[in-house]
Symmetry: C2
Subunit: 143 residues, 2 copies
Amino acid sequence: MHTTSDYELMLRGVDLRVTRPRVAVLDAVHEHPHADTDTIIGAVRERFGDVSHQAVYDVLRALTAAGLVRRIQPSGSTARYESRTGDNHHHVVCRTCGAVADVDCAVGGTPCLTASDDHGFTIDEAEVIYWGQCPDCSTAPIS
Amino acid sequence: MHTTSDYELMLRGVDLRVTRPRVAVLDAVHEHPHADTDTIIGAVRERFGDVSHQAVYDVLRALTAAGLVRRIQPSGSTARYESRTGDNHHHVVCRTCGAVADVDCAVGGTPCLTASDDHGFTIDEAEVIYWGQCPDCSTAPIS
DNA sequence: ACCGGTTCTTGAATCATTCAAGAAAATGGG
DNA sequence: CCCATTTTCTTGAATGATTCAAGAACCGGT
């Protein structure tokens, strides 16, 4: 659990101005891991009153650029955001319901960064998405 | 290089009716690896005359479901399609220009399928995207 | 060649995200 | 503490990939 002033410090730490929408979004992302933009907008409004969706989009972009949140976007989903950053973890996504869970990288610190043949690319990140069925969806078959 | 009858055989092999749009799309995907939908529509029309964009969308979905093509969609890109399927290869994507290149899986046959903690998910595929700069973009810095 | 079911065409709708212009607010200096 | 400057937020509209819907055309088997 974080307090408002924690979020203030985070924002100042990356040279971002402290505004209510930013604190609200930061809080929403921490409280709702892997939430999509619409969910975040809803959570922000519930706690902090009216905030334009445009502001939330802007804030999410700013926070992502600053590294305070991480954006993930599995095929078929809209953008989702999470607060765990910088630890090179990955995700499992349920093909049926879209649920997302975190997966720690099995290999170590900055792993996965070596492609067999990089075609001359300078690689700075390896993103891994495991696809499958979540416990709920694999139990309940297609009705 | 494939001929029209090759594509016919592929379609029949997965119990799909052989139609001109399908052959055309199959050809376009083979000729333009990692092309987005719009490029495919263009290629199809250039070779086979008018085909509705809706038909191309339908065909791409059918071919993807049948396993004849694979759909990839790196964050920030529209859907892209490729003809290499079933060999568990991965991709490098250029952050600057969006170029995509294939990367063979370093580990072996059906690798990467083991997450450190799968949270009870039944995993059937691991998708890896390496992010970085392609040779062209890493040479020419931001103008 | 005909029939039934699939697939294509046409045209409109959806929805996440972005663009634009002006109003409001945040930080640093006086 | 107040002002000026710059950033950020609000409002409202636009974009663009993708999908929905209804009817026409076509594929494959009989």
